[in-house]
């Protein structure tokens, strides 16, 4: 029996599952810190019952650690919740500053584990476009994974959204090993399909170590690649 899987749906599920795995890993790390802190409190309580004095400074530090981890877990879950709700509507007016920052947070563990650093610079006036937020998040995640393969020796990647005449763009820079061939490979895979779904276009500038994703002001407009720039 063969199973027919919609390629965009398959890409979306892959993206969502990878992010979910990364998030649960983060939460488990946070729980592990809280578990050790609570365990230590249990240990010193047992010692106090045997007459060994408690160290108030150490207890205060433990309380601070636990509060910090609660805030960390809460922030992780808020981001996961925002990602989950990005499928509430097909398309909507989308603040790119918020979306890019969310994706930077959600990708952080993957990026850092691979030894890279992803910095985000956002304009004071948030660029907004009418688009499909989930597909755009998926595209950014694919882009982040792609740019790590073509990043320079310093392993610093910059991601910047900006307003343009025809909509908005998201620029990735620091890509010293970017080549036209690497971009073609990326476009031949899920990246190209996701760009089409968003009516978006990809503009590599290999000699400047930069790649830019152009988004139309409204996803229902003709594809940017067909528009006069």
């Amino acid at each position: 029996m063969s199973i027919c899987i919609d390629p965009l749906g398959d890409a979306g599920l892959t993206f969502f599952s990878k992010i979910s795995a990364s998030i649960t890993h983060e939460i488990k790390n946070s729980l592990a810190v809280m578990n050790e802190s609570a365990g230590y409190l249990e240990d010193v309580t047992l010692m106090a019952r045997k007459g060994i004095p408690l160290d108030p400074d150490r207890l205060a530090a433990l309380a601070s650690t636990m509060l910090k981890q609660v805030q960390r877990s809460n922030a992780i879950l808020k981001n996961m919740n925002r990602l989950a709700h990005s499928l509430d509507e097909d398309s909507r007016q989308t603040d790119l500053n918020e979306l890019v920052e969310l994706m930077a947070h959600l990708s952080e563990r993957t990026v850092v584990t691979k030894g890279f650093r992803l910095a985000v610079t956002v304009p004071d006036q948030p660029p907004a476009v009418f688009t499909h937020p989930f597909f755009l998040q998926n595209l950014i995640w694919l882009m982040v994974n792609f740019v790590m393969t073509v990043c320079g020796e310093n392993k610093n990647i910059m991601m910047e959204p900006a307003k343009t005449r025809t909509g908005a763009e998201i620029r990735f820079s620091g890509l010293d090993r970017l080549t036209d061939e690497s971009v073609l490979d990326f476009l031949a895979q899920t990246g190209g399909m996701m760009l089409d779904a968003l009516n978006a276009a990809c503009h590599p500038a290999a000699n400047q170590g930069r790649i830019t994703i152009s988004l139309p002001d409204d996803i229902r407009q003709p594809a940017i690649s067909q528009q006069k720039q």
Partner: protein, 117 residues
């Protein structure tokens, strides 16, 4: 026995070391593979507890380096990452593979069993 704990979560690894010391197990801790490579050149360890996923170099790669520096050193992996692939590979390489959050008594049992073999 002397244990080395390696995990990029500083508050986790430092508190775990403190709790082990309360149980008379001498444990040093570091937060990166690079620090682990340095400290193992200066001290002998019977066993290392390694986080599988760390920035720059994970526990599985680090284990190979530490094994060359101190042949026969025992390894226990800990991770918050539960992929089946990692579990299978990690279980084959290390004495034990524990999921975070860990139970300290369970860890101590595993340390003792690993060192007894």
């Amino acid at each position: 026995m002397r244990i080395l704990l390696v995990d990029d979560e500083k508050e986790f690894v430092s508190t775990l070391a403190e709790r082990l010391s309360l149980r008379d197990i001498e444990a040093d801790w570091v937060t990166s593979a690079r620090e682990a490579e340095q400290i193992i050149d200066t001290r002998h360890y019977d066993l290392v507890v390694l986080d599988v996923k760390m920035p720059h170099m994970g526990g599985r790669q680090l284990r190979q380096i530490l094994e060359k520096k101190q042949p026969g050193i025992k390894t226990i992996y800990v991770t918050g990452h539960g992929s089946e692939e990692d579990y299978k590979a990690g279980s084959a390489e290390a004495a034990y593979y524990l999921m975070k959050p860990i139970n300290i008594n369970d860890l101590i049992d595993k340390i003792k069993t690993a060192l007894a073999t």
